[in-house]
């Protein structure tokens, strides 16, 4: 569940980047621009709150497989 949210963040941020580049490009039509902007604002909100509320998680990997690797 958490993983999904995380990759969503990356995808959202990438999409936001993409949208900002598309909007900078004058060739995008009016309707398209407005659609992109609306999508972008949603993504920006999502990214902002996700990042704002984030807390670093630390997991220690148990070396249960270590023996397998050694052989």
């Amino acid at each position: 569940m958490g993983k999904k949210k995380e990759s969503n963040f990356e995808e959202s941020l990438n999409r936001l980047q993409e949208i900002s580049e598309l909007l900078e490009n004058e060739e995008v039509g009016l309707e398209e621009s407005i659609k992109l902007y609306e999508e972008g604002i949603k993504l920006a909100k999502f990214c902002y709150t996700t990042l704002k509320d984030a807390e670093l998680r630390v997991t220690e990997l148990k070396k249960q497989l270590e023996e397998n690797i050694k052989q």
Binding site: F9, Y37, A44, C47, L65, E66
Partner: protein
């Protein structure tokens, strides 16, 4: 005394006893050759100088305490005892400990391994994997209790708390460290969701950092499918790991800075989107409005408008002309009418005069009744064929 005849075993036993009792604790300096790390974990090698050579063994368990992996040509000091192996009648040093003959030896070993791996292409740029921009799971290969790990944690927490650190804790110095590091890298590679691995430790002596100069670590880094940042010691310390890794960081802290995007910059980007693009979208809309206006005022769009205007003007002209014609016609008719009227009047009076009547005028007025006539004044008598002026009676008195 009869000459004593000994069996092979007996003489070998005597030699074994003599040697092992007399050389129980020896330190020998020499150059390693024919080094073999057997699959059983034991080491076999020859120690030699220009005139002599001696076989050596170092058993598994004991050799764990050697912080470096011996290489052929390396000058070392070994400490141990002489032992004899009766089945072959050979003697060897049973090595208990080993150290490089000097720091120069480590440097030489470093250079040699570096050359070898470079020749194999392990440092080639073409094998360098790109470092992901937003690593969500960062594998850490270091000692979990170390200051280096503390630094990694605090920087990740400050810059990109969205990430998860997955630590595969390992020894970073001393015996077995190299193998431990290599295994931790492999372990992280067995997870399926690690985006990036940071391998490293804080500063220390050349011996402390040596594990990161070991071939086994270099190969584990090279074989990793996950991109690896190597961060060993301080800025000035270069290790073999640094050369093989996809990216070298001067310190563990720097590695985490390279690995993670800055939260503040991301916030900046996000709010820039919200602010900048609000203006941008307004600009786009007004651009389109401008384009619409431009289109409306274009020649093509003006044509129908002009057509209408032209027709309107034509119509106005027409009406104007109609009006003019009408007005002038009307006034002409009026004139004609007036003319006719006066003609009619004139015609009536003339007829009456023709029949012999006259009109009397006094002081420019027609005298239509007797009472208006003043006999004292002169008057005009209008006949059909002319007027006759008659002076008043006073003058005749």
């Amino acid at each position: 005394m009869k000459e004593q005849i000994l069996s092979v075993s007996q003489i070998t036993g005597l030699i074994k006893q003599t040697l092992e009792e007399n050389f129980y604790e020896v330190s020998v300096i020499g150059e390693i050759s024919n080094f073999k790390a057997h699959i059983s974990g034991h080491w076999y090698f020859t120690l030699k100088d220009s005139n002599a050579a001696i076989n050596c063994t170092m058993w598994r368990g004991v050799n764990n305490y050697v912080f470096f992996t011996p290489q052929d040509g390396m000058k070392v000091i070994v400490n141990g005892k002489i032992s004899v192996y009766p089945p072959r009648g050979s003697y060897q040093i049973d090595v208990r400990s080993m150290q490089p003959a000097g720091v120069g030896e480590l440097q030489a070993a470093f250079d040699k391994l570096k050359q070898k791996l470079a020749a194999e292409g392990l440092f080639d740029e073409k094998f360098k994997k790109p470092i992901p921009k937003y690593p969500m799971k960062i594998g850490i290969v270091t000692a979990i209790g170390s200051a280096a790990f503390q630094d990694l944690q605090s920087i990740a927490s400050r810059r990109f708390p969205l990430a998860e650190l997955v630590i595969a804790s390992c020894k970073v110095q001393g015996e077995g460290a190299a193998l431990d590091i290599a295994n931790s890298i492999k372990l992280l590679n067995q997870q399926n969701d690690i985006d990036l691995i940071i391998v490293g430790r804080g500063g220390g002596s050349l011996e402390d950092l040596w594990a990161f100069n070991e071939e086994i670590v270099a190969r584990a880094i090279f074989e990793s499918k996950i991109p690896i940042i190597s961060a060993v010691g301080h800025e000035i310390d270069f290790t073999i790991s640094d050369f093989v890794a996809d990216l070298r960081a001067p310190t563990p802290s720097a590695a985490m800075e390279l690995a993670t995007p800055n939260k503040e910059e991301l916030f900046g980007f996000i709010s820039e989107f919200s602010y900048h693009f609000e203006g941008k979208i307004i600009e786009i809309i007004s651009n389109y409005r401008g384009q619409v206006n431009l289109a409306l005022s274009s020649y093509g769009f003006r044509l129908p408008q002009d057509f209408v205007r032209n027709r309107a003007q034509f119509l106005d002209n027409l009406l104007y002309r109609f009006q003019n014609v009408f007005v002038s016609k009307l006034s002409a008719l009026k004139n004609h009418l007036a003319l006719l009227e006066s003609k009619i009047q004139t015609f009536n009076v003339d007829k009456i005069l023709q029949r012999g009547f006259i009109i009397v005028k006094q002081n420019e007025k027609f005298i239509t009744k007797k009472k208006y006539f003043n006999p004292a004044e002169s008057f005009l008598m209008k006949f059909y064929d002319g007027e006759l002026k008659i002076n008043g009676q006073e003058k005749r008195k």
